[in-house]
């Protein structure tokens, strides 16, 4: 096995058992980046020097039997809207050109605190909205990897990094993960601190994780989850042992949400139903369920909330540097300033109503299941349709995508699983069981 193909958990174990040096692992990943990133363009910045220095420190510590935590010596990438102390962080925007934060985002700091090594910053759409990143999909370079966490997804899929941080305000973590054949988690709102992450919405921004298997995502979550005194929206609810939860794999009770299949292409619906049938044959209890009436209004409510929030967050910068914004985000900021307060509050009340109506459905099953995306990754630069993630970003419910097969043209598809607030342990357990049945995605040829 070549080192760049090692997943996070396996790399961490090999380092702990002293059969792998963090220095060799970082060098292998840097070499992989040199070899393939000219085509994929996942990285906004590669901190080769900093990563090598961190790897040498990690190796020295390992030689002395000192391990800072479960990801000691394992490299990761972060979307370029995560602050990284001393490293340029531009959010894909000329507005932030040359900005170098003096502290790490909490999620980055927590990973580094357990010995993980920040290899660099992954390309994002401008400020995590829709003006695209240059990144291409490793499965087909003519296609988008999705967005806004474009580089975070492509870098993991192209074996340039085993684990990455992304974010999701509408559909920006789970969708690109699925387009690239990865496991991607958007946890409950408040589960991971958003401190030091360039904001887009006060109540819909989520930090997410991407990896090539469920175990690595669980490992990453176990490190970054938890209250942050600097982030008032971060939750104080206890953080369970997500890795232990994976040992409790059992066939889950699944509710298939038919509305999503009706909005998907025939091929996506067919591949996803084949996956559902395999899960049922393996022992999952599969039902069909209908979404509550307020589902009809969730996309409109989410649009009004994010437009208004984005305008508020960017108002001062827009007043000074409007011409530096690219067209889509500039329009979003300006149009968002026109949303009347009464309708903004009504959208927040629709969110509340949707959450309330979802509760009985969520409580009846272990997970709800949909296709992750209505179609595979489209060709071109546009980052695809986020509509299948919107209800969970709006409501804050956790969701995860697990690969479930390929289209006839060879593009990855996924199943999206959704569960109740702060039930990531059982969600990950169900996802791991599904992964066992459906198999992991293969590697794209590059």
């Amino acid at each position: 096995m070549t080192l760049h193909t090692l997943d996070a958990f396996d790399a961490a174990r090999a380092i702990r058992e002293k059969v792998l040096s963090p220095v060799d692992l970082v060098d292998a990943l840097l070499e992989r980046i040199t070899r393939v990133d000219g085509r994929v363009q996942a990285w906004a910045l590669v901190d080769a020097e900093g990563a090598r220095a961190a790897a040498r420190r990690a190796a020295d510590e390992a030689a002395r039997g000192v391990f800072r935590g479960p990801l000691h010596g394992v490299p990761f990438g972060a979307k370029d809207i995560f602050y990284s102390a001393g490293l340029r962080t531009e959010g894909g925007s000329k507005v932030m050109a040359g900005f170098v934060p003096d502290y790490d985002a909490t999620a980055v700091a927590r990973l580094k605190g357990t010995g993980a090594i920040l290899l660099g910053k992954c390309h994002t759409t401008e400020f995590a909205t829709t003006d695209p990143a240059p990144t291409r999909n490793p499965w087909n370079l003519a296609c988008t990897p999705g967005g806004s966490s474009s580089g975070s997804a492509a870098a993991v899929a192209a074996r340039m990094i085993p684990l990455s941080l992304g974010t999701q305000t509408i559909g920006s973590n789970v969708r690109p993960a699925s387009y690239c054949g990865l496991v991607g988690l958007k946890p409950t709102f408040g589960r991971i601190s958003t401190r030091g992450v360039m904001a887009l919405s006060y109540t819909q921004d989520h930090v997410g994780l991407m990896a090539r298997n469920v175990e690595d995502v669980a490992l990453g979550l176990s490190i970054v989850a938890g209250h942050d005194a600097h982030d008032p929206s971060s939750s104080r609810s206890p953080v369970p042992d997500y890795l232990s939860a994976l040992t409790l794999r059992r066939p889950p009770r699944i509710a298939v949400l038919r509305e999503f299949f009706e909005r998907a292409t025939p091929e996506v619906a067919e591949v996803t139903m084949q996956a559902v049938n395999r899960l049922a044959r393996a022992g999952a209890a599969v039902d069909e369920a209908k979404l509550p009436p307020t589902f009809q209004a969730v996309h409109a409510a989410a649009a009004l909330i994010t437009r208004s929030d984005t305008s508020s967050i960017h108002a001062e910068r827009h007043a000074q540097k409007a011409d530096l914004y690219r067209p889509a985000i500039r329009a979003a900021i300006e149009v968002g300033m026109l949303v009347p307060g009464e309708l903004y509050v009504r959208a927040l009340r629709i969110r509340s109503q949707f959450r309330r109506e979802m509760r009985p459905l969520i409580e009846r099953y272990d997970v709800l299941l949909t296709p992750t995306t209505p179609a595979p990754a489209p060709e071109g630069m546009a980052t695809g349709d986020p509509q299948f993630q919107t209800p969970w970003s709006l409501s804050g419910l956790p969701s995860i995508t697990v690969p479930c097969g390929l289209t006839r043209s060879g593009l990855p598809l996924g199943i999206q699983l959704v569960s109740g607030n702060f039930t990531e342990a059982s969600l990950l357990s169900a996802a791991a069981w599904c992964e066992d049945i459906l198999g992991r995605a293969s590697a794209p040829e590059l």
């Binding site: 409950t188 709102f189 408040g190 006060y202 109540t203 929206s233 939750s235 609810s237 206890p238 307020t294 009809q296 209004a297 996309h299 409109a300 409510a301 649009a303 009004l304 437009r307 067209p327 329009a331 979003a332 300006e334 149009v335 968002g336 300033m337 026109l338 949303v339 009347p340 309708l343 509050v345 009504r346 959208a347 927040l348 009340r349 629709i350 969110r351 509340s352 109503q353 959450r355 309330r356 804050g396 109740g420 607030n421 702060f422 039930t423």
Partner: protein
Amino acid sequence: MDLEAQRAELIATLRAAAERRFGAERAEANAKMIEELAGRMAEVAAFPVAADEPPAFYAEPAP
């Protein structure tokens, strides 16, 4: 007023507001997004919300 009529009225209102705030050129550049927003505003305005439903800002506490 049906949704489509309300949307048309909202487009005109938003377009005028955009012109006042950002000028005619920006209002024109934002025309497509204004139309989309007007549709979303009409949907939100028309959707029935329970009278005692509070606005939700943050996720519910853990169970």
